[in-house]
C-alpha cells in the first residue's frame, strides 16, 4: 500500500470535507427541514389542491434521481433565464431532497402524537397553530430523530453528487487524487473512511439528542 499517497491525500480530502461536504450538508439539512415541515403540513391540509400539490412534489423528489435534479437546476434552469451559482444550486437541490424525504417522516411523527394531545391543547385555550407549535411538534420531534438522522446520513453521502455541478467537496477531491495516481481503490476507501467518521459523529449527536428528548419518557 502506498502510505505516502494515503498520508499526502489526507490534507486535501479533509479540506474537501470541511469546506465542502460538511457545510453543504448542514445548510441543506437545515433548509430541508423547514421545507419538510411545510410540505408535511400542506400534505395534511384539508385544502385539497394544496395537499395534492404537496403529494406531487414529494413524489417527484423521491421518485427521481438526485443527479437529474441537480442537472435540471444547474444546467436546465439557465434555459429559462435562471442562472444560479454552484453552491446555491447544490443547496437547493439537496434541501429539496431532504424536504421530500423528511416530509413523510415529519407527517408520520405528527400523526403519531395521540389525538388527546390536540384536544388537551384546545381545552387549555390554544389555537391550532399554538397547539402544533407547543404541544405536537415537541413530541413529534422525539419520534422523528432516528429517521431524520437517517436522512441526514444519506444527505452527507449525497453531497458527493454536487461535484457534477462544480462544487468541490470530499468526493471531488478524491476523484482528482485518484485520477492523478490511478490508485482509485485506495483513495476511495480513504474517502469512505472520512465519510464514516462524519457519520459516526452524527450518530453520536443523534444519541445525545435522543437522550435529551427522552427525558420525559418512562423507560422500560
Amino acid at each position: 500500500m502506498d502510505w505516502n499517497l494515503v498520508i499526502s491525500s489526507l490534507g486535501p480530502l479533509w479540506g474537501g470535507a470541511l469546506l465542502g461536504t460538511i457545510p453543504l450538508s448542514l445548510a441543506s439539512f437545515a433548509l430541508g427541514l423547514v421545507l419538510a415541515l411545510l410540505l408535511a403540513l400542506a400534505r395534511m391540509s384539508s385544502i385539497v389542491p394544496l395537499a395534492a400539490l404537496a403529494r406531487l412534489i414529494i413524489s417527484i423528489v423521491r421518485g427521481t434521481p438526485m443527479l437529474v435534479q441537480l442537472f435540471v437546476i444547474f444546467y436546465g434552469l439557465p434555459s429559462i433565464g435562471v442562472v444560479l451559482p454552484p453552491w446555491p444550486s447544490a443547496i437547493i437541490a439537496l434541501s429539496i431532497n431532504v424536504g421530500g424525504y423528511a416530509a413523510e417522516v415529519i407527517r408520520a411523527a405528527i400523526l403519531s402524537v395521540p389525538a388527546g394531545q390536540w384536544e388537551a391543547g384546545y381545552t387549555v385555550g390554544m389555537s391550532r397553530v399554538t397547539t402544533l407549535r407547543r404541544v405536537i411538534l415537541p413530541q413529534a420531534a422525539r419520534v422523528s430523530v432516528p429517521p431524520l438522522s437517517n436522512t441526514f446520513i444519506s444527505l452527507v453521502k449525497d453531497t458527493s453528487l454536487a461535484a457534477t455541478i462544480l462544487v468541490t467537496e470530499l468526493f471531488r477531491e478524491a476523484q482528482r487524487i485518484a485520477a492523478f495516481s490511478n490508485e482509485f481503490m485506495l483513495i476511495y476507501i480513504e474517502a469512505a473512511a472520512i465519510y464514516w467518521i462524519i457519520c459516526l459523529v452524527l450518530s453520536t449527536a443523534q444519541g445525545r439528542i435522543e437522550k435529551r428528548l427522552d427525558r420525559y419518557v418512562a423507560h422500560a
Binding site: G116, E119, G125, P138
Partner: protein, 263 residues
C-alpha cells in the same frame, strides 16, 4: 324544562335540542340540560350512550349539528349555517368558559407538572410568569402535589396525574368544569384521592358537569343526575331519587348491572 326549582337566576349554561351525528350514526338526539351556577350535574349511562359527546360539545371539541348552547344568557345557535369566523367565535366562547378533565389525563408529557399547569395561563391568557407559577404552585399544594412541581408526568402515578389534570383545568379559572370519567382509568384504591378533591371543588362552589360511574360520588355530591341512553336523556332527578328509585326500567336495569354485576 329546566329542573332547577331552587335557582331563581338564569343558569350558567343551558342546552336546547343538541344533536350530533357521526356519519349516519346519530349520537345525540336532542339534549336539553341546564347547569345552574355553583351546581354539580352528573351524567350517567351505558357505554356509547353519548355522555362524552355531550361534554365535548360543551367544550367545543365537537360542533353540534343542531341545537343551542346558551352561556350566561348568550345563545350560540348551531342549527343556523354560520361562517367559519362565526363558528370560530362560538368555539372560543365555549372554550374560554370551560375547563376539561379527561379520562386519560392527557397531560403534556414533555412538560413538567408546573409547566403543564402554567401553559394555559401564560401562553394563552398572557399572564405574567411569576404570578402564574405562584398560583399554580399553591393549587398543586392544595391537591398534595407541592413536591412534584418539577417532575414529568411519567414519573407520577395515575391518581397524581389526574390531580394535575384537574389543577391544569382550574388554573384557567373557567366558569364551568367538565369531567369525563376522571377516575375510571385509576387503580381502585386511588380513586378516592381524586373524588375527594372533586368533592371539595363542589363544596367551594365550582360549577361542574361530571360523567362518572362512581355512584357513591353522584349520591353525595350531585345536585342533579341525568341518565343518558341512546343519545337521549331518559331520566333526570335528584340523586337520592334517581339512583335509589328510578322511574324508568332502562335506568333501573343499568343501575342493577352496575351494582350487582354477578347476578
Amino acid at each position: 324544562m329546566s329542573p332547577t326549582p331552587e335557582s331563581a337566576s338564569a343558569p350558567l349554561l343551558r342546552t336546547t335540542g343538541l344533536r350530533k351525528s357521526f356519519g349516519s350514526l346519530e349520537v345525540l338526539k336532542g339534549i336539553d340540560l341546564a347547569v345552574p351556577r355553583g351546581r354539580v350535574l352528573v351524567l350517567i349511562g351505558p357505554s356509547g350512550s353519548g355522555k362524552t359527546t355531550v361534554l365535548r360539545s360543551l367544550n367545543a371539541l365537537e360542533v353540534p349539528d343542531a341545537g343551542v348552547i346558551e352561556l350566561e344568557g348568550e345563545a350560540l345557535d348551531f342549527a343556523a349555517p354560520a361562517s367559519k369566523k362565526e363558528r370560530q367565535r362560538q368555539r372560543e366562547t365555549l372554550r374560554d368558559a370551560s375547563g376539561m378533565v379527561f379520562q386519560h389525563y392527557n397531560l403534556f408529557p414533555h412538560r413538567t407538572v408546573l409547566q403543564n399547569v402554567t401553559e394555559g395561563p401564560i401562553v394563552v391568557q398572557g399572564r405574567p410568569r411569576a404570578e402564574a407559577e405562584a398560583e399554580a404552585t399553591s393549587l398543586l399544594e392544595r391537591v398534595g402535589l407541592g413536591d412534584k412541581r418539577d417532575v414529568y408526568p411519567f414519573q407520577l402515578s395515575g391518581g397524581q396525574q389526574q390531580r394535575v389534570g384537574i389543577v391544569r383545568a382550574l388554573a384557567l379559572k373557567p366558569k364551568l368544569l367538565l369531567f369525563d370519567e376522571p377516575t375510571s382509568a385509576l387503580d381502585p384504591e386511588i380513586v378516592g384521592d381524586v373524588l375527594t378533591i372533586m368533592k371539595q371543588l363542589a363544596e367551594e362552589g365550582w360549577t361542574m358537569v361530571v360523567v362518572t360511574h362512581e355512584l357513591g360520588f353522584a349520591r353525595e355530591v350531585a345536585d342533579e343526575v341525568l341518565f343518558l341512553d341512546g343519545g337521549v336523556i331518559v331520566e333526570r332527578g335528584a340523586p337520592q331519587q334517581l339512583l335509589r328509585d328510578p322511574r324508568q326500567p332502562r335506568t333501573r336495569a343499568f343501575l342493577d348491572r352496575l351494582l350487582r354485576p354477578l347476578d
